[in-house]
Symmetry: C2
């Protein structure tokens, strides 16, 4: 028998009998996808078919149960997307079903070496100790590369550790990718030379499958300090592929664009901590952006804290990464944020700084308040 990994699902059900029937259905659906009575005896039934390992009332008080189902590493076949497909492929389409947690096995940990840098590597790159990291975004789409580079310069001079592209900046004619990359790396370098900082520029390389990998190489060769990818758009394997590539050395920032439906509905998709925490680490992201509580989105403080915890928990292998809450951060909220997240966090601050006529000073004020 091959080692098995486990997935724990919240299953809406009126009683235990219904929950058990639904759980056994998941075990079939996610593996053999044929009626139970025609599952071949022997290897397929004993090894490949999912096994219901435990079934308990939902500890969070939802109207259902937690079903823990184990799957064989043999079914994964060394394929990261097939791993995700076993976790939640077809069952994602069934209502009242949510992935709560994933319990790893040795083979899955070998398949998912995790991020190259993690929070420790990002801090080292930024030249700081055990304090929060800060990241800003240049925007909006429609500005020229020169205008965007000026913003990158100002954020860097103001002390931001990372300056990233807005996730909507791709290769628009107003600011083509290669031109913006060169201009922003230069601008951040100038600011570092002037101010003595170690800011890094992080371009958005989300693009078609082939272009994404070309842009990753361009970013590395141009002297960028990381790359950003939206995995829910570009595919759940691209970060995994880049993080596993020994020739690619930059940190990877994961952006949540297009991922919302996987999380916001209380009874479908994934738990917040599993999607924005565990999955990001398994893919190999070094920083996971998600919407902060109290901002423009509806996540609660507890949901955000559960993500931060999942970024740092001992997974038996992958390095701790940095949770990067975006939205809703400003000077006045620094104490509240410190209370919620402690030091192991990267604050993503964009719009609030652009509302100031002096981006450099506005950045400095927030950098100082956070470091205090």
């Amino acid at each position: 028998m091959a080692p098995r990994f486990t997935v724990s699902y919240y299953v809406r059900a009126a009683d235990e009998a219904e929950a058990r029937a639904r759980a056994l259905d998941i075990a079939l659906e996610q593996t053999v996808e044929i009626p139970r009575d025609v599952v071949p005896k022997g290897y397929v039934e004993d090894e490949i078919l999912g096994k219901l390992e435990a079934l308990v009332k939902d500890p969070d008080g939802r109207p259902g149960y937690l079903a823990s189902i184990s799957y064989s590493e043999d079914d994964v076949g060394g394929d990261f997307l097939q791993f995700l497909n076993i976790v939640f492929g077809n069952s994602s389409i069934k209502p009242g079903l949510k992935v709560e947690n994933i319990g790893l096995s040795k083979g899955i940990l070998a398949l998912c070496p995790g991020p190259k840098h993690g929070i420790a590597g990002l801090r080292q790159r930024a030249g700081i100790g055990a304090q929060p990291l800060l990241m800003s975004a240049i925007k909006p789409v429609g500005l020229s590369s020169a205008e965007l580079a000026q913003r990158a310069h100002d954020f860097a001079l103001g002390g931001m550790h990372f300056v990233k592209d807005d996730h909507g900046l791709v290769d628009q004619r107003t600011s083509p990718f290669a031109e913006r990359l060169a201009a922003c790396v230069d601008a951040v370098g100038d600011a570092n030379a002037k101010g003595g900082g170690q800011a890094s520029f992080v371009p958005n390389i989300t693009a078609s499958a082939k272009e994404l990998f070309e842009r990753a190489i361009m970013a590395q060769e141009a002297g960028a300090g990381g790359v950003m990818i939206s995995p829910a758009l570009a595919g759940y394997d691209v970060i995994h592929t880049l993080a596993s590539d020994p020739d690619f050395t930059l940190p990877i920032v994961s952006h949540p664009a297009f991922s919302g439906a996987n999380v916001v509905s209380p009874e479908t998709g994934f738990s917040h901590r599993c999607f924005y925490g565990a999955l990001q680490r398994l893919m190999g992201a070094d920083a996971a952006i998600y919407p902060n509580f109290g901002g423009r989105f509806g996540f609660t403080r507890e949901e955000c804290q559960s993500i931060a915890k999942a970024c740092a928990d001992d997974m038996g292998g992958p390095k701790a990464i940095v949770p990067a809450p975006g939205g809703g951060m400003n000077l006045g909220r620094v104490p509240e944020m410190r209370d919620a997240y402690g030091n192991d966090v990267m604050y993503l601050i964009g719009g609030a700084l652009l509302q100031d006529t002096d981006i450099v000073s506005a950045s400095r004020r927030i950098v100082e308040a956070v470091a205090r």
Copy 2:
């Protein structure tokens, strides 16, 4: 001004004022992602910023409004993923918001040439006229390539037009991709030679970004009759890239694995017709698999019919594709299915046939019943 495309969103709201505020927020969030008061005057405000074009009470009686928002082709920058990002990137994370429809513009149609074959091409390949197509899946994972090829042979001899891999078959040691591909193409070829049919084998090529394209070429060179991809796992650009590649000539079947959260929640994600119909055509899929009503999933007859309609509607460019409902099909349901779908459909029939000890005869009975 560049031409604009429009997206119509269902917006949950207590009254028109709230709906308008939420709609204007979408227009900001999906384009400039900065506070309204700092949107640069001129090109950014006039061209890039989303525009609220219409706001009406939801015609389907849900507690909210339909907001139609237009976006500039300039913001897309010729990038298919950026197009999807504008449609629903960050706003996917906001609850009570659903993409209902997308209204195309000339530039988007140029970016999305659509499928190469469509339903007409699939029928031509199968050698049939205006009747329903039939597809079966070889499974389960864990069988050897020889055993799976035997099933492929029997389905083909029984008259199925397409025989596909189960979407969980990748490169497991029990049936490595290359070995299974060769064995199944051979087996289906033998059955065609014996029975006079024109069945095609369709391997699952969902894999890491680089392997997926290698397997597409392998499939074409080996004589497969199509490929299957799960875009919600592999990324929303891979089908688009393959369908746009003049050197790749096989039909593409889209599988819904991992996509469920985008659709099943009534107030998040996409409408059924938009996700499993319109988006699949824009990507360039020739056939779109989705869960049939009355099967193991919860879609209603009306939702399934709306998908089928969206596969065939005049979009101003992309060919009509074939809706491929899976699950719940058997001999007894043929009249009900004919009534729901008419002729422009591809029935995906798997488990029910495997429950028969004689797959060839079981396939023949369903093929005859559907063609009658």
